[in-house]
Amino acid sequence: MDPRIEVIGKRLRNIDTLVPVASGKGGVGKSLIASTMALIASERGKDVGLLDLDLHGPSSHVILGTEDLDFPEEDKGVVPPKVGDIKFMSTVYYSQDGPSPLRGSDISDSIKELLSITRWRDLDYLFVDMPPGVGNEVLDTINLVKDPRFMVITTPSDVALRTVEKLVSMLKELDVPISGVIENMRNENSPDIEEKVRKMGTNHLGTVWFDDEIEQAIGEPEKVLKSDFSKDLREIFENVDYLPSSK
């Protein structure tokens, strides 16, 4: 018997809302959206955690500008280091920011290990930056986490939408709650995708317009929070009943 499964439930039981930010496709802005959602919720006075579960390509630490990648402090488990007011956990603390050549079962084991050792304690929100696709990380999150509320990210491109359709279809088949789809990187020439999203049987939560200045804000949370990108995400917060409103 695997002793980690019992512990994972205990470690996550004081988290009110767990939001995996996922997509069928890479490069659609999951990490930036997950990190910025965490920053906005934290700015609004909530106790927030951010977990980077993209084991092959962790990047939330880059967005948050985390310089200190030393081993996290131990206290009958591992205490997630704070970046600003956000409790942040990632495998980068253990990979020494090098490549992690992991296969499927290695990934599942690492996720179980990470969820077992991390002591989040009380949180209003835990945002989870997921890797692209419908692989181990997504399936393990569904199996190990109680009541995840998936937020699905797409761009207006058909290339992204078609993979997102597969992810949404799988989540629905498994009866996993989906908050809806966020459309990222829209520009004036983009096709209208709201109808396509509705046909998937889920909500189009809102649009984040392509922000050509966001790259300059990467690594500086204060700048990220002042960006147009962040402004669009704040509007989406008003459309999701469980996210903290500005009012």
């Binding site: 018997m1 695997d2 002793p3 980690r4 499964i5 019992e6 512990v7 205990k10 081993f71 131990e74 009958k76 488990g77 591992v78 495998t91 253990y94 990979s95 020494q96 090098g98 490549p99 992690s100 050549p101 992991l102 296969r103 290695d106 990934i107 084991d109 690492s110 290990e113 990470l114 077992s116 050792i117």
Partner: protein, 135 residues
């Protein structure tokens, strides 16, 4: 996994099994410890003892058996013991593997062809092997 998390997992899993089987007493808890995780036995034993306090596992006999960590290269088929690779690792690398044993792939290489693509055949982590119950 950290020793305390590990102990918490072992004790609560053993208690769950006992409860599911309507046991009156949890007589024995048998644990296997894979050497890849490099569990500190002394800390683990203390953690088990403290975690079991005031639970039905308080007086259980706890047995531990260590298993060698055997790795097999997916590229050339070489099989080897992790202990042989350990000599090449820095303290930080060993510490990383202690917390996330699968991250051995980040630091360990096949001694024959230097590939990072190997399988952990046995001795990866901690496992609750069996429990003895009394109804």
């Amino acid at each position: 996994m950290h020793e305390w998390s590990l102990a918490e997992g072992v004790i609560s899993t053993a208690i769950s099994v006992a409860e599911e089987n309507d046991a009156e007493e949890l007589v024995q808890i048998n644990i296997k410890i894979g050497k890849l995780q490099q569990v500190d036995r002394e800390i683990f034993e203390t953690a088990l003892e403290e975690t079991a306090e005031d639970t039905m596992a308080e007086d259980s006999e706890i047995n531990m058996e260590e298993a060698e960590a055997i790795l097999e290269c997916r590229s050339c088929g070489e099989k080897w013991n992790y202990q042989d690779s350990k000599k090449e690792l820095s303290e930080e690398e060993e510490e990383s593997i202690h917390f996330l044993p699968d991250f051995a792939h980040n630091f360990v290489r096949c001694p024959s062809c230097e590939s990072p693509d190997f399988e952990i055949l046995e001795g990866r982590g901690v496992w609750l092997d069996s429990v003895e119950l009394e109804r």
